[in-house]
Symmetry: C2
Subunit: 377 residues, 2 copies
């Protein structure tokens, strides 16, 4: 049986391991917290720092293959492992491009992949030269994750908020819709394209409200999105699974925002809504099996369950009964002991052929479920 390791033990690792149990594979996980969501579901857990060369190298060298559930891992160790014949998903060379937002953006430009116009700024002084380019988004080249390391700069008076480090200043897109396109590629270069998903934002708080799949966009836009995302993956030249996040702007133009070279939050619905889930698909890629069928079984909505504001401490789920009572709603809690404001603690996928049913249930879940701490902080 092949031995496959995952760097990181969060919810993505957890769901990968739930899917792994259908295949003949020995699973290894490395993570610093032995009580992380994935720790108890693998064959072999190793406590270690995924950013540390020696930890990653020692973890990987007895394995047949290795993957990631987060980009902030030690790439040098992955390069050494790859040179020694261990298969790495995605390849370290692709990971190097993607985890640095400057290299990633330059990669799109060099490969004629549509993306919003940008400048590279090495420090805050350089940033000040581009006051005519605003409104824009300033993104740190490295170190950013899940909203950290990103600033919106609306006018010259806000330039002092920009990062004093190598960054990308990109033109703010006049967004009509935000789309996620998940694609898998195996070692032969064969690809499987999932139906696109659409992020629905709360117009008041500008936060992700819920997600719908398939995305409600014209067929021609769908084709274009698939073609662009496919080009991203082919040009990255690595097997693996990828979430290409795109904008449709108010003119109907399609622009790549960014790419994640791994299973992704926007693909959680595929567990129930598609014949082959994103997690299943990555195992098929890593085990050299035929790609699965990414087609949808039923339309879906997906709601992230995040820690309530002002609540930090041992997680307590209020309103869980109301969610579990909803027909055709699939609960996934990640088993995280501690909640924090905005922390991803779980998700719910809803299946229905009726869009109003999807939206109604997504909203109901957001209203009814609160993740609080036993001792509010």
């Amino acid at each position: 049986m092949l031995k496959i390791g995952i760097l990181g033990g969060g919810q993505l690792g957890r769901m990968l391991l739930q899917a792994a149990a259908n295949y003949p594979v020995i699973t290894h996980v490395m993570e610093s917290d032995p009580e992380c969501p994935a720790a108890h579901l693998c064959h072999q857990f190793t406590r270690g720092d995924i950013r540390n060369f020696e930890d990653v190298y020692q973890f990987g060298k007895g394995l047949d293959g290795i993957s990631i559930e987060i980009e902030s891992v030690n790439v040098e160790a992955l390069e050494k492992l790859e040179s020694e014949g261990i298969r790495v998903y995605p390849s370290p060379s692709a990971l190097r491009i993607i985890r640095d937002k400057i290299l990633q953006k330059q990669f799109y430009k060099e490969h004629d992949i549509p993306t919003s116009p940008f400048y590279v700024t090495q420090n805050r002084d350089e940033l000040r030269k581009h006051d005519g380019f605003l409104p824009a988004v300033h993104k740190m080249g490295s170190g950013g994750y899940d909203g950290r390391g990103v600033q919106i700069l609306s006018h010259a008076g806000e330039l002092h908020k920009g990062f004093d480090a190598p960054s990308i200043l990109e033109r703010k897109v006049n967004i009509h819709k935000e789309i996620s396109q998940i694609i898998a590629m195996n070692r032969k270069g064969e690809t499987a394209i999932f139906p696109a998903a659409e992020m629905i934002f709360d117009p008041v708080h500008n936060q992700l409200d819920y997600q719908l799949s398939p995305a409600e966009i014209p067929q021609q836009s769908l084709w274009r999105i698939e073609a662009i995302a496919l080009k991203v993956v082919k040009d990255l030249k690595t097997p693996g699974i990828f979430a290409v996040e795109l904008f449709i702007d108010k003119n109907g133009d399609i622009l790549v925002n960014e790419t994640a070279p791994r299973v992704h939050n926007s693909g959680h619905h595929t567990i129930e809504a598609n014949y082959c889930s994103q997690f299943d698909m990555l195992w098929r890629v890593m085990l050299d099996y035929p790609l699965g069928n990414p087609k949808q079984i039923l339309p879906s909505a997906m709601v992230n369950l995040v820690g309530s504001e002002g609540q930090s401490g041992e997680a307590c789920y209020e309103g869980l009964e109301d969610v579990l009572k909803l027909e055709n709603a699939f609960l996934h809690l990640y088993g995280k002991k501690e909640t924090r404001p905005g922390r991803k603690m779980g998700h719910v996928t809803i299946l229905s052929t009726d869009k109003s049913d999807l939206v109604y249930k997504a909203r109901t879940i957001k209203q009814k479920l609160r993740i609080t701490s036993k001792q509010p902080v």
Copy 2:
């Protein structure tokens, strides 16, 4: 978080644990083999003998609840645990009835649940008195499992093959169809009824060929099956999940064959084919959550993958690629190291609205996949 233990670590435990990872629950498993299919997927594995009083009692006494994946467990220990406030699914009193085929058959008779006529025989001498009752099936009261402890006695000349131990001699049913009806009951007595499944037998080898759900039988038979199975579960007076196996005879009469008070092979398709799977449903019962929706998403076929004849040793899967290439076929391998002739090594569920597609793919899988040993014995 509640702590729930499972006695037995085979494929049923494995699939229970895959489902458990969606809920806030700490999982414990006891089994003698630390490399069993479920061992690596629980929070806490305990090596022990599930038939031993002390092992089961020590395992269970720190838990909030306990369940089984096989009937041959130490009931006395479960009774002591229950008396100390630990919740047991199913209750030990129901388990005592079901695990003894004599008590189970008498239970059906006492509760006016239709079942084929029978005699109890204490030994082979007593059996000989009933030569006028043949053809019949002779079943040992206890110790039988998965076909062991069952004999067909066609005529008086075969009576010497009968068991010289307390047994049931039951009239052989002239079978039209074999049906499995899965039902869950929670502690409040609320029930969830899954669509019935139908076993399709190979007419030549008289072995289970594949299974279809929903069963293709008249609506009136379905209603009657549901009503009978519901009565079985209500009269057993215990929360849990149950597979009631029934015959429809050539006259259209419906007779209960036997009941399993646990998740069951005939419910594997519910993982993909139903909104709530049998595994998910049992967790909902044990965690005191609302029952899930047992309705089907799509019609399904399910094929068991069993060890090939004449092959014993380290398992090797021939033709796996062909199975993984089939669209809408969901592979589940159980991670058992060793194959043996007829051993359940995995299953495949197929989803389709087209029955001929289901049957074609079920047959293809049975033709293409062989589970052999690296060193044939």
